[in-house]
Structures are given as C-alpha cells and as structure tokens.
C-alpha cells in the first residue's frame, strides 16, 4: 500500500490513479508528470487558473487524450490508452467542460443515450426525474433550449443513471449563476455519499471546496500542492495570481 499525492489509499488501489502523467498537444507538453489519486467515495477537487492543464488531465483520465508518458490506473489496472467509450462502459464517466448534452435532442432522447450503457429508458427516466424533478417537466424540450443549469442537471443525471464508479466533472460551474452552482454541488456531495468517487476540475475554487475531501492545486501542468480544502484555501490566491 502506498501513499499518493491527493489522498490516502484506504482499501487497495484507488478507483482512479494517475501516475507520472505527461501529455502534449503536438510538440507542446502541457502536463509534466502529474500524480493524482481519487480515493473511493471521495471528492477530489483539482483547482488552478485558466490554462493550467486541468481539463487536459481530465481528458487523459477519460481516455480522450493518450498520455505521452505515465499511466492511468483504474482500480489498480493500467488502462493507459483505453478509448473513452470503453472507460465509460466500465464505469469511468465524464461530464465535459461546457454543455455535455446533445442540443438537438430532447431531454428524454438525451436520457435514452444512457440506456446504451445500462438500464431501460423507463428506469433511466425514473432515476433522472427523481433526482431532478425539473427535468421531468421539460422531458419533451430540446436540450439546447434548456437553461445552463438545467443542461448541467441533464448531463449529471445522464451520467449518474449509468451507475458509474468514477465521475469526472470538468468546470461544472461554467457560465452558471452562483445559486445554481451551489445546488449542483449539493447534488455532487450526495452522489459522493452514495460511494461514487469524483474528480472535480474547477477554476472557481470556492464553489467546490465546500464539498471536497481533498484538493490539489495545478500550476503550469504540474500539481504544486495537495491537502485538505481548509489547508489549501489560503494558498489559492498565490496559485491563481502566480505570487
């Protein structure tokens, strides 16, 4: 058993473990050997300024970008290079930055997509509308015409009905009102309490620190600090401002 940077491994290998990950776009390396673990049933917040490499790390973890070095381990198995659809099928689910929904499909049709992984449409709808009743009221509405918060609810519920073990959230708060962000993160906290391991990438730290178990600060493609949210709260300004 070993101690990793973002959280202690309590029981065997963590559900998601990134070891020495390097990644590049063309010839430009943007991740320079990142170590990050997401322990079972916990929320790990990855914070940093715009351009720090947070979303790139999520892409690597989700199988959307192949790392140039290092390893992505899921529950102890090296899955480096596995395509995103295979990772989604085994339970590593991603909600990408911005809108993670099909804008030209209705809410119901978006939820139907989740049945490709697990369950029937009736089961998926029941679970989604139970968690977010507002989606039930808008089931026949095009997803692109929903408000930003409702779109994130749809993306979140579509991910959750597949019963994932690991959830990767990239900039959940982007473009949303603070009250909506607060409600979404309350849901995220409930989800973590159900035993789902969550990696949250956020630019706006205050939104996520309230629910995170561990946090890490990323600067210029490297994780410079990890610790509890309380420990990191005071260091955030220097990380963001480069001071």
């Amino acid at each position: 058993m070993s101690e990793r940077t973002a959280g202690a491994i309590v029981d065997g290998s963590p559900p998601l473990d990134l070891v020495g990950v390097r990644a590049a776009y063309g010839g430009i390396e943007v991740l320079h050997g990142v170590d990050l673990a997401v322990p079972a049933g916990s929320v790990v917040a990855l914070l940093g300024a715009n351009g720090a490499g947070k979303s790139t790390l999520v892409k690597v973890a989700a199988g959307l970008l192949r790392p140039t070095a290092g390893a992505v381990r899921v529950a102890g198995t090296d899955v480096t290079g596995a395509p995103s659809h295979d990772l989604a099928r085994i339970g590593v689910c991603t909600i990408p930055e911005g809108r993670g929904v099909f804008p030209n499909l209705t809410v119901r049709e978006n939820l139907w997509m989740a049945t490709q992984v697990r369950g029937t449409l009736a089961e998926v709808e029941e679970a989604a509308y139970a968690r977010f009743p507002r989606l039930g009221e808008r089931r026949a509405q095009l997803a692109g015409t929903l408000s930003g918060g409702e779109q994130q609810m749809l993306a979140l519920s579509r991910a959750l009905v597949t019963d994932p073990a690991v959830l990767l959230l990239d900039e959940l708060s982007m473009g949303l009102a603070p009250i909506v962000v607060q409600r979404l993160y309350e849901t995220v906290a409930q989800v973590a309490a159900e035993g789902i391991s969550i990696l949250v990438v956020e630019q706006f730290a205050q939104a996520v620190l309230g629910i995170a178990d561990r946090a890490a600060i990323m600067v210029n493609g490297e994780i410079t600090r990890t610790g509890s949210p309380a420990e990191l709260a005071s260091e955030l300004s220097s990380a963001y401002l480069g001071g």
């Binding site: 029981d11 079972a40 899921v74 198995t77 899955v79 290079g81 395509p83 030209n104 095009l142």
Partner: protein
C-alpha cells in the same frame, strides 16, 4: 470497499487496452499511400523494361509484374482514400455538431430576448440599432431650437 468498486475492478481487469483507432487509421493511410506510389513506379518500370526484351517469356513476365503492380496501386489508392475520408468525415461531423450548436444558441438567444419565431425569419436587428433608429426619428420630428424665431 463497495459493490461499485468491486464491479469497477472486475471490469477494468477484463478491459483490453489496444492502440487508439486514430493512430491505426494513420498507419493504414500511410501504407495505402506507399502501396499506391510503389505500384505505379514499379508498374511503369516493368513496362519500360519489357519494351527492351526480345524473348516473349521475359515480356510476359514483366507485363504480368506491371499488371500486378497496377492492381497494388489501385488497392493502395482505395485504402488511402478510405482512411483519408474517415479522417475528413470525422472533422465534417464535428463541424456539423458545432454549427448545430451555434444555431441552437442563436435560437435560444432570440427567444431569451423575448422575440417571437416570426422575427427569426427577418434580418436580425439588435436592440441598440432599434434604439438608435428611434432616437434619430425623434430628432428628425423635433423642430430645431431657435428655428422659429
């Protein structure tokens, strides 16, 4: 730790990790291009060599080689085209998705501004344009100060 993690562990262990499709596509595309080039060059060379031969058996051998190489060039061209198109069509699909999203965004922004669907069929006039036009019209209707004296 819980059923979810156990399931993840079992399914991750069964996952077969191979090379990504995109890099394999690039390999096939390159192989197709090479086959196409080599086929054409060797076919031409074999045909040229056959012209300098007197023995019909040598000529037949070289012509057979030339035809085989032409076949290789055709197959290579097909493979090259197949994987070039796959890459192009992926970009095309992404572009379609992007444009679809942009259209929906435009629709939502119009509806958000309280416009009805009919207004979408007319050229878009911004609120600031309308305001400026109204002010210009009001100024034109108002007699200039001191003009009546």
């Amino acid at each position: 730790m819980n059923d979810r993690i156990e399931r993840l562990r079992a399914e991750a262990a069964e996952l077969k990790v191979g090379r990504q499709t995109a890099s394999r596509d690039g390999l096939y595309q390159a192989a197709g291009g090479v086959a196409m080039g080599v086929g054409v060059v060797v076919a031409f060379a074999a045909y040229q060599m056959s012209l300098g031969k007197d023995d019909p058996r040598d000529i037949s051998s070289l012509v057979i080689l030339a035809v085989s190489m032409l076949a290789l060039a055709v197959v290579g061209a097909a493979v090259f085209l197949r994987y070039s198109l796959a890459r192009f069509l992926r970009f095309w699909l992404l572009r379609q998705l992007y444009e679809g999203q942009a259209q929906v965004d435009q629709l939502v922004s119009h509806l958000g501004n309280g416009r009805d669907m009919d207004s979408l069929r007319r050229p878009y006039v911004s609120e600031s344009d309308t305001y400026e036009r109204r002010n210009t019209a009001e100024e034109a209707d108002t007699p200039a100060k001191g003009s009546g004296g």
